[in-house]
């Protein structure tokens, strides 16, 4: 079972925290700090498995982490999960984020924290791995987002307007207008 999923940056600021077991709030923050402390000490060429976190649960739990650019993705798991499998899962999760956000970067995670949670909900549920097929996950997330947009109501009106304009079929603008011997070059306007 996965006990917790933490994403934080190189300075220890949390970008996403998800606990699958109940911990009090201050204990949660303590765990984040301790995990960051343990993980940031590691070199880049050592293995991705860490033991020794005392707060999150004692001897059965390991931290499996991956470091991408400025972010640490840490999964805290117990012995019932395959360690190498979890490593692959982290990769699948990050690739999914990449597909959903188009070249994801840390800012995307910061400003769209709720969306990241919803994507994570499609991958891991209740501490157990739910789906590992990237296309399936991305497809479901798209459908859900569409559902959310479609019932947006009053506040969704501007968004609807924008998407309506985008989908409008404008006839192709001629590049040059030749009338007789007058040659007008039409400036090319960028699409919406």
């Amino acid at each position: 079972m996965i006990k917790a999923i933490l994403i934080f940056n190189n300075h220890g600021k949390p970008r996403l925290i998800r606990f699958y077991e109940y911990f009090a709030e201050d204990l949660q923050q303590q765990i984040i700090r301790e995990t960051f402390h343990l993980v940031s000490k590691r070199d880049d060429n050592v293995c991705n498995f860490l033991e020794g976190g005392s707060l999150i649960g004692g001897s059965d739990y390991k931290l499996i982490y991956r470091h991408y650019a400025t972010l640490y993705f840490v999964f805290c798991v117990d012995s019932s999960e395959s360690e190498l499998g979890i490593l692959d899962l982290i990769q699948v999760f990050v690739e999914t984020l990449d597909k959903c956000f188009e070249n994801v970067c840390e800012l995307d995670l910061i400003f769209h924290m709720d969306k990241v949670h919803f994507i994570l909900q499609e991958v891991v549920m209740g501490g157990m791995v739910l789906e590992t097929n990237m296309n399936e996950i991305v497809g479901q997330v798209e459908l859900q987002n569409r559902m959310e947009k479609s019932e947006g109501g009053f506040s969704a009106a501007p968004a609807r307007a924008v998407s309506a304009v985008k989908n409008m079929n404008l006839p192709e603008m001629p590049r040059n207008i030749n009338i007789g011997d007058i040659n007008i070059k039409v400036p090319s306007l960028s699409p919406f």
Binding site: C47, L50, E51, V129, E136
Partner: protein, 790 residues
Amino acid sequence: MSPSVRLQEMIRVIRGARTQGEERGVIQRECAAIRAQFRQADNGTRSHNLAKLLYVHMLGYPAHFGQMECVRLIASPRYNEKRVGYLGAMMLLDEKQDASLLITNSIKNDLSHSSQYVQSLALCTLGCMGSAEMCRDLAPEIDRLLRASNSYIKKKAALCAVHIVRKVPELGELFTPAARSLLSEKNHGVLHGAVVLITELCERNPDTLEQFRKVVPELVQIMKGLVMSGYSPEHNVAGISDPFLQVRILRLLRILGRNNDTASDAMNDLLAQVATNTDSSKTAGSAVLYETVLTVMDIKSESGLRVLAVNILGRFLLNNDRNIRYISMTSLQKIVQTDHNAVQRHRGTIVDCLKDQDASVKRRALELSLALVSAVNIRSLMKELLLFLSSCPPELRAHTTSGIFNAAERYAPSQRWHIDTILHVLTTAGGDVRDETVPNLIQLITTATELHCYTVHKLYRALITDISVQSLVQVACWCIGEYGDLLLRGECEETEPVQVAEDDVLDALEMVLQSHMSSPATRGFALTATMKLSTRITHNVDRIRSIVSIYGSCIDVELQQRAVEYNALFKKYDHMRAAVLERMPVIDKSSPGHTNGESAGGTMKEMEPTKLTQEVVLPQEPANKVCDLLDLLGGSAEPLQPSPALSTTPLGPVSSTAGGDLLDLLGGLDVTPVPPSVIVYEKNGVTLKLQTDRQTDTGMTVTLTATNSTDGDITSITLQAAVPKSVQLQMKAPSGDVIPAHGLGQVTQTVLLNNPNKVSLKMRVRVCYTSQGSVCQDTVQIDSFPSPAW
């Protein structure tokens, strides 16, 4: 617009704060605004506010006032609001809060909603934070969803069912039929969920495990399909088709095949196929291979397959990738108890890993090295461990020292070596040793009578070099006090002679007494040592008298008391001083858990009437008793691994010998109030005695001793043991496998038991040996242990 816009503004403002204080101010303002808006009537911004609150919660600020808002949002008909509401429920609520009860009804309604996404939200929340009551209420709903819905909902329902079974184990029976039928699904997500559910059900309930053994062929088919299938773009990860599902199925096969011949046979071929066909150049392939190896080692596989598995592990161990090396050591740790010799072959590589830079790899290598210590390799391995100790990371030191002490205690080739090793550890890492080290070491030194001279010289030298390590200083002071005369005599066979004058010794002790580094306990040791020397030295007794009288007015109460009493010894009771301070007798190594003769006798007498009834019952219902024994075997956590030379015996003969041995057992028990050693097996001239020793509240050490009274040697004797499910068992390596004839020698094997739930302890021991050319195998059931009841 989606709720994120307002959220983004707030995030931007928070990030703009330049100091922690500014950030706190911004967040407090925002929280106040959110609280005010929550109190208002329904407006369109509720979901935005909750999203903001969740962000603030992630940063570590209190957000409990959002709990009721979550409940309200979940009940809203709009998908937006439900989504954020459920997310808030999972982050902020748990079963300890009262608000969580209020969402039960909403979840119930949403589980039958027309939109599958709303259903999935409800399933997700129930699976994450559902309490036992909620699970009981909603279990039938989940069962319905498991059977009749699309694959998206089915896979979520399966994992939700796993959560329910964890919370309320009795509901497992409700889900068993649905889980069975899910195995015929094609969708990998649903299959994955089904396998997880079946794994959970089998782990919880042995009856369900029996039922699910029948699906082994189906699982084998699925695996074959995955392994043999060509490239499938949907599920492909680095060339392996859906490694996640493969790993899960292998794990389930492991649980189903454990202790069961038919199931194990059914999967032998498949495991061989997977082991040879999987490409392990990428992590995905390695994960599958690793799981295959663990499965092979755990079930009753054929020996060729086992050899293949250990070879794969050996290959992993030599891999350059640190992750793979770490994994191989973890798996070797799991099999070191059962396949000790196979792991011994890789000892060299493991010991090399001790020098790796990576702390995780070091930790694994340390655990494995400690498990591999045996009488044969103790010297070389201890050298490596001591080298490791001098450079190991601080968090591993305590563990290393206790491991070294345990190993030294069990396999020390000579007392001198043992003392040297402990002294080495104390000088290198004395600050990280356990508290019992000092008395244990002192006890060891007293028993090694011929080494007193050598020991005291060595300790004296260590003392004058460095007095910062308290444990070392304490032992040194004690020894100098006891054996000071040997120290001053100057000559010693084992070490170079060094002239030590009485003044030097007293200087050293005074240094310890006065140093600010010495703890009060250490100073107590030093003072007592000084006093003892008064009878062992000739010239400087006045100096000792003056030291002791100074401490009569020491601030430390313990030291003051000692000094005053010693003063009295000098003045009024001088005639008794020599007798009081003479050499200590050898300390007996008795731990508090030792049973003394009377209590063993008492419990023996109590057990007599019950044994008599057992004897009466047995002839009448031998079948039932045998069934109980078989249940015990089925229920025990520790599998009886077959010895490679013997084939697995059919069930019939085992039951009859078990019944026969039970009668032998009852006849053979001695009811004498004597140290608790019981004869549990006596046949063909081979006698097996059992001795217990309680170490801790729940742990017990059992020593099995086998002796031989026939004319010929008994060869290749092996002992295996099984215990009830909740008891943990660890078998140590036996002292040998040959018992000389005519009772000239014996073989002992130590078994460590840990009984945290304090269930009534039973043990079944299987003994196999070769006597006069024929191979014999017997099983003995031990129902009553000669020690106070748990």
